[in-house]
């Protein structure tokens, strides 16, 4: 990354050539694919493809976007396309085994659900859904992100565009509400 001498202080002097752009963002782009479970060699291929598209399509860049946002969009599209094409290949080639594999995944994911099924009666499910519906949307979303997504307060705040304090308040109030409404039917996990 080169620094120019007279563009102003701090960050304002930074500029990128395509090579600078590559050097600055290649590792994060590879990491982006790795974090989605793509093997290392394929991640490098996809990252190269991302930059190939970046360099070939400078002309279609919407100047309002940050560079990172632009890279994210291209990498995200490539990832989704790759996922779709892998799924299509699997469907074409291994229909039977894919079905059994999917069944295995569902089985794994719902292990906890299976354990619950015996005691989570239809009545309890209905009450839980109703109690959640009564929560303001942001509170309900915060509860799901915390309990189901297992996200940190900071991550929930980032996703919801609110402060960490607001997230804490939402979760506190939501838990109070659910405890009041459902205390006779569910055991509070915090107790």
């Amino acid at each position: 990354m080169a620094m120019t001498d007279d563009f102003g202080p701090g960050d304002q002097g930074l500029m990128y050539t395509p090579e600078d752009l590559y050097q600055r963002y290649y590792r994060p782009v590879v990491a982006f694919f790795l974090r989605r479970g793509v093997p290392i060699e394929e991640s490098r291929d996809l990252a190269q493809e991302t930059f190939l598209r970046v360099f070939k399509n400078m002309d279609s860049f919407r100047g309002e976007s940050a560079v990172e946002t632009w890279l994210f969009q291209i990498a995200g599209n490539l990832y989704k396309n790759t996922l779709r094409s892998l799924q299509a290949q699997k469907r074409d080639a291994q229909e039977v085994s894919l079905e059994s594999a999917e069944a295995g995944v569902v089985e794994l994911r719902s292990k906890e659900g299976d354990a619950l099924r015996g005691i989570l009666t239809e009545e309890r499910s209905r009450l839980l859904r109703a109690a959640l519906e009564d929560l303001p949307p942001q509170m309900r979303q915060a509860v799901y992100l915390r309990v189901d997504g297992d996200l940190k307060y900071r991550e929930i705040a980032e996703l919801m565009h609110v402060s960490i304090e607001t997230v804490k308040a939402h979760l506190y109030q939501a838990r109070q509400h659910l405890r009041d409404r459902l205390g006779d039917y569910f055991r509070d996990s915090e107790s």
Binding site: Q12, L21, P28, R44, G63, E64, R140, L151, E158, D188
Partner: protein, 271 residues
């Protein structure tokens, strides 16, 4: 066993309910939609719908969190970072693919450049630019309509026209100029908090090096075209320009020679 032990745990029941909702999801937001949401530019209703989706879709919420920290993304635990040698090896491979012109065939429309101010363009070329320009405008209009409902085009256009004379020879609506357009002195638009990568086309010979002067602000190096027909690339750093319309003068540099090859304008929105 107490009565409490017979009750199912609330958190597990919530996860079970979320799992049911997750299975019923039929579609996911695109990376573009996530980026617009991340920028806080979705209308409230769409934002609430997207948040409902994120609440039960770990894949999409992970994607969005990765966008928020994109510049510092690290591989997952247990996977090592690429070595400098691997990064260099991939750069050389990428350069070879660029030189081989890979990806070019994917283009479906002629590249429509931002033209610098200067002598009038030849009529034939001018005409040939309009079809792709019209296509771009239609595409961007559709996109903009759904996402940006409060753009005050009229006032901004007046400001643009007043400030860009004598360069402005076309009246492309301002909210369309975020895309490529073909008129002299047309303006690309960016937000003050964002950086931008600008593709600058000019009619002169290709120089080995370029320098851009943002009038009243300072100078930046610009990257020469990677090959003939591609633009000069100028990266405007994040938060470097205040709101308003800025003029960029592009110079080709060859040894001691420094020739002005184009002048461009960029609109920076109020934060």
């Amino acid at each position: 066993m107490s009565a409490d032990d017979e009750k199912p745990p609330l958190d597990a029941a919530l996860r079970h309910l979320a799992e049911q909702q997750r299975r019923s999801l039929t579609s996911h937001p695109t990376p573009q939609e996530l980026a617009v949401y991340h920028a806080g530019e979705l209308p409230p209703e769409a934002e609430s719908r997207l948040l409902d989706h994120l609440a039960v879709c770990r894949d999409c919420s992970d994607l969005l969190l990765d966008l928020a920290g994109f510049a510092d993304l690290k591989p997952p635990q247990g996977v090592p970072e690429l070595t400098d040698e691997q990064v260099e090896q991939d750069w050389q491979a990428l350069r070879s693919r660029m030189r081989a012109g890979e990806g070019r065939e994917e283009r479906t429309a002629e590249v429509v450049p931002i033209r610098p101010a200067g002598p009038p363009m030849k009529p034939a070329r001018w005409t040939s630019l309009w079809l792709p320009v019209a296509a771009s405008i239609l595409a961007v209009l559709g996109f903009s309509f759904s996402l940006y409902q409060t753009v005050q085009v009229g006032a901004l256009r007046q400001q643009l026209e007043a400030q860009s004379k004598p360069w402005s020879t076309t009246s492309v609506p301002l909210d369309d100029t975020t895309h490529r357009s073909g008129g002299e002195g047309t303006v690309q638009r960016m937000k003050s908090v964002d950086g931008a990568v600008l593709s600058l086309y000019h009619d002169e010979e290709v120089y080995p090096a370029y320098e851009a002067e943002i009038v009243g602000q300072g100078k930046l190096k610009a990257a020469p075209p990677l090959e003939d027909g591609l633009p000069v690339t100028l990266v405007i750093p994040r938060r470097s320009l205040g709101p308003g319309i800025h003029t960029i003068r592009l110079f080709g540099v060859k040894g001691d020679q420094r020739d002005e090859v184009g002048e461009y304008k960029i609109q920076v929105d109020e934060p």
